[in-house]
Symmetry: C2
Subunit: 430 residues, 2 copies
C-alpha cells in the first residue's frame, strides 16, 4: 500500500502490557501491506520522574544536560517497543532522533526542526523492517548536541517524518477516539467529528481543545499531510484532519450528502486569567506603553478589549486575558507603569474561562454570533469579553459557568448525537 | 598539571546525594589544576531495572535493542552528574560513548573497542569544561548502531579514553580503598597494597579478587597506563597499578627500603564447580575428545588435573573446574560422550572453592608452594587440585574451608598489618 507513520503517546505505552498491545497494532498495520514508521513518547511518567531527579541535584539544570537526560525516556520506550515487535516475529529497529535524521536548531528545550534526513529510516523500511523513532528529540545542526523539541514535540516529530518520507498518512494515537464537538466529560452527547480542516483544528487547539498541538497541525497544514487522530484502545476510525478542500469534497461525496455543519465544535479553556487596567487616560500612546511592558515581560496575551471612554472623564478601561501562570509577572510589570501612564487601578481575576465556537462554515452564515450569545443569555450566562476570527467566536465567562456555556452552545448549533458516543479511556494522551 | 580520567561505578552514583558528593570530588580535582574527564556507570540498580523491563516484553530481546535500552542508564547518570557539577559553578558537558568517539565492532552486548577518537572531549577540555562520558557503550564502526561493551565495560572505557587522551592516570573509584592483600570481610587484618604490577593484578582478578576487570587491566598493561584504584568515599591514596618495573623502582626509592614482599595477596573464588570424569581409558585422543566437547559447549574451564593411571587397569581420572553456571551444560555435553570414550562415571561437585597466592617475587623465591601447602595442612585443610603460574599458586579446597584457607595463607606470608585497616563501604562498586 504505502508508508504509514504512527505516533503513540506516553499513556499508550505506560507499561509492558500497553507496549505489547501497541506492538500488536503496529504488526497489524504492517501485515496489511504497509511500510510502518512509529514515533513513540516516553513511557507513562518517565519524563516527570527524570525532571524530579534533575531537580534533586540542581534547582536550575543547564538546558543542554536536561535535554540529554530527558531523551533517555524515549530511548527506553522505543527499544522496549522494538523488542515487543520482535517477540511477535517481525523485524523492528529503533532509532534516536539523531539517527532518524531529525535536524534542529540549538535551542535546547524548545528546538525547532530545520531539516529531516531520514536515510537510515528509509534503509530500514527497504529491508522490510518496522522503524521505531524516538519522538520529541533531535540533534543540533551546529553544535551536534542532542536537543528536545518542547511541548507537542512527539506529534511534530511524527508529522515531520511523515512529510520527509512522503507518507500517505500520519496517525496520531492517544486515549480518545478522535476530535469531538465538545469535551465529552462536559457534554456527554458530544459527537466525534469525522473530518475537520487544518484551520479549524488550529482554532480548536488554540482555544483549549486538548487533542493536537498547534505546532504539529501547523506543520501538517504547511505540507498538506493528512493526520488521522485515533485511539490506541480501539479499532474505530478517528478524525481525519486535512485541507478544507478535501473536507468539502469528502462531505460532498457522502451518500446522503447533508449540508455541512456550520459549527464544527465547541472548545473551552480554563487556564486563563483576566487583567483590567482601570482609568487609563484616553490619549495616543497609552495602550502602546501598556502592551510594550507586557510584551517585554514575555507574557502571551490572548484577547484584548478596550471600552469607549466616558465622555466626562476621557478615561477608559483596558482588559486582556493571559495564561494564569503569567499573571503575577504581568501585574508586577504593569504596576511599575502606574505613575508614567497614570491609570487608576489594576484588577486581576483568575476565576474566568473561555468558551469558543469554531467552524469553517461560519463566514458564509450570518447570525452565528447572535445565536451563540442568545444561547448563553437564555442559560443566564453573562459575557465578559468577546473576540472573533473568520472561523471562530470566543467569549470570556465566569469559570463556574464554563461547563454550562459549553452545553448551551453545543445544543444551540445541534452538534449532539442522539446517543452517548464518546469514550474517554484515560489521561490526556500527551 | 595534566589530564586525569576518573571512573565512578554505579554504587558511587546510586542517588542524588551520591551524585553531588562525586561532583564535589570532581570539582576538587579540577581546582587542583587538572583537566578532568569522568567516565560514569548507570546509577545504582538502573541497569537491572531496565533488563527486568526488557524481559517483561520479550523472553529473548534482540541484542541491538537491548544495547539501545541499557545505554539509557548511563545517559541518565552522566547528564545528572553534569548538572550537579554546574550547580557547583563549574562547566561540565556530558557525552555518549558515540559522541566521545568510542568506536567498537558490531558485537552487541560484548563489543570490543577498536578505536577511540576523542575529538569532542578534547574540544571540551580545551574550552575549560569537565567532560562526562557514558561508560560501557560505544558505536559500531560498520553499522553505526549503539553497542555495549559487556562486563567491565565502564572500567575499560575509562582506560581506553585515558590512553587516547594520553592522560597521566586513570583513577577507578569504587567503594573500597584499593586492592587488599585479601578480602577484608574474611581477613580483617588485610592490608591495602600501595603498588601492584599489571601482571599481579591480572592474576588476582582471574583468581576471583573483585577489584578490577581483567579486560581493563589488560588494556592498561598493553599501553602502560597507570591505574589508581581508590574509594569515592574517602580521600586516602588507593592502590597504584603500574608496570612491574615501576613498582620495583618505587619500592626501591622508599625511605626505609624494605625487601619487597614475596607474596602480594591472597585471592579466593567461590563461583567454581568441579567435574571429575572417572575411569577414562588411558590412551591417546581421549582427553582431546573430552575437552573438545566441553569447548564446543562454550564452557570456560579453569584448572585441569589428570591422575597417573593405575597400572592394573590403564584407567585414569580427569578433573577440571568451571563456572558453576555452566555446570549443567558441561555435564550434558560430556554424558553424550560416555559410550564413545568409554569412561565409567561423571561426578559433579559445586561445593568447592579456590584459594590463590599471587606475587611477582615468587619466581625468585623457592619454597613458596611448600610454605603455602604446609600452612593449609596445619589448618587441617585438604587440597583437592593444584595449579600454578610464574607468579601464582592456586588450590581447590572444600567451599566450607575457603575462608580458613585465606586466613592461613595470609598469616603464613606475614601479609597482615598490626591493626585493622580495611574499610568496606558498600556493594561491589561495579
Amino acid at each position: 500500500m504505502g508508508i504509514v507513520v504512527q505516533k503513540y503517546g506516553g499513556s499508550s505505552v505506560a507499561d509492558a502490557e500497553s507496549v505489547k498491545r501497541v506492538a500488536r497494532r503496529i504488526v497489524e498495520t504492517k501485515k496489511a501491506g504497509n511500510q510502518v514508521v512509529v514515533v513513540v513518547s516516553a513511557m507513562g511518567d518517565t519524563t516527570d520522574d527524570l525532571i524530579d531527579l534533575a531537580n534533586q541535584v540542581s534547582p536550575l539544570p543547564p538546558a543542554r544536560e536536561l535535554d540529554m537526560l530527558l531523551t533517555a525516556g524515549e530511548r527506553i520506550s522505543m527499544a522496549v517497543l522494538a523488542m515487543a515487535i520482535h517477540d511477535l516475529g517481525h523485524e523492528a529497529r529503533s532509532f534516536t532522533g539523531s539517527q532518524a535524521g531529525v535536524i534542529t536548531d540549538a535551542e535546547h528545550g524548545r528546538a525547532k526542526i530545520i531539516d529531516v534526513t531520514p536515510g537510515r529510516i528509509q534503509a530500514a523500511l527497504a529491508e522490510g523492517s518496522i522503524a521505531i523513532v524516538a519522538g520529541f528529540q533531535g540533534v543540533s545542526q551546529t553544535t551536534k548536541d542532542i536537543t528536545t523539541l518542547g511541548r507537542g514535540g512527539s506529534d511534530t516529530t511524527a508529522v515531520a517524518l511523515a512529510v520527509a518520507l512522503a507518507a500517505d498518512v500520519c496517525e496520531i494515537y492517544s486515549d480518545v477516539d478522535g476530535i469531538f464537538t465538545a469535551d465529552p466529560r462536559i457534554e456527554p452527547r458530544a459527537r466525534k467529528v469525522p473530518r475537520i480542516s487544518y484551520e479549524e483544528t488550529l482554532e480548536m487547539a488554540a482555544q483549549g481543545a486538548k487533542i493536537l498541538h498547534l505546532r504539529c497541525v501547523e506543520y501538517a497544514r504547511r505540507y498538506d499531510m493528512p493526520i488521522h487522530v485515533r485511539s490506541s484502545f480501539s479499532d474505530k476510525e478517528g478524525t481525519w484532519v486535512t485541507s478544507a478542500e478535501k473536507v468539502q469534497s469528502e462531505n460532498d461525496s457522502q451518500e446522503n450528502a447533508m449540508e455541512a455543519a456550520i459549527i464544527t465544535g465547541v472548545a473551552h479553556d480554563r487556564s486563563q486569567a483576566k487583567i483590567t487596567i482601570v482609568g487609563v487616560p484616553d490619549k495616543p500612546g497609552e495602550a502602546a506603553a501598556i502592551f510594550r511592558a507586557v510584551a517585554d515581560a514575555q507574557i502571551n496575551i490572548d484577547m484584548i478589549v478596550q471600552n469607549v471612554s466616558a465622555a466626562a472623564t476621557s478615561l477608559t478601561d483596558i482588559s486582556f486575558t493571559l495564561p494564569r501562570g503569567e499573571g503575577q509577572t504581568a501585574v508586577t510589570a504593569l504596576a511599575r507603569l502606574q505613575d508614567s501612564v497614570g491609570f487608576a487601578a489594576l484588577q486581576y481575576d483568575d476565576s474566568v474561562g473561555k468558551v469558543s465556537i469554531v467552524g469553517a462554515g461560519m463566514s458564509s452564515s450570518p447570525g452565528i454570533s447572535a445565536r451563540f450569545f442568545e444561547a448563553l443569555s437564555d442559560a443566564g450566562i453573562n459575557i465578559g469579553m468577546i473576540s472573533t476570527s473568520e472561523i471562530r467566536v470566543s467569549v470570556v465567562v465566569a469559570e463556574t459557568q464554563v461547563e454550562e456555556a459549553v452545553r448551551a452552545a453545543h445544543a444551540a448549533f445541534d452538534l449532539g448525537s442522539d446517543e452517548v458516543e464518546a469514550v474517554v479511556y484515560g489521561g490526556t494522551g500527551r
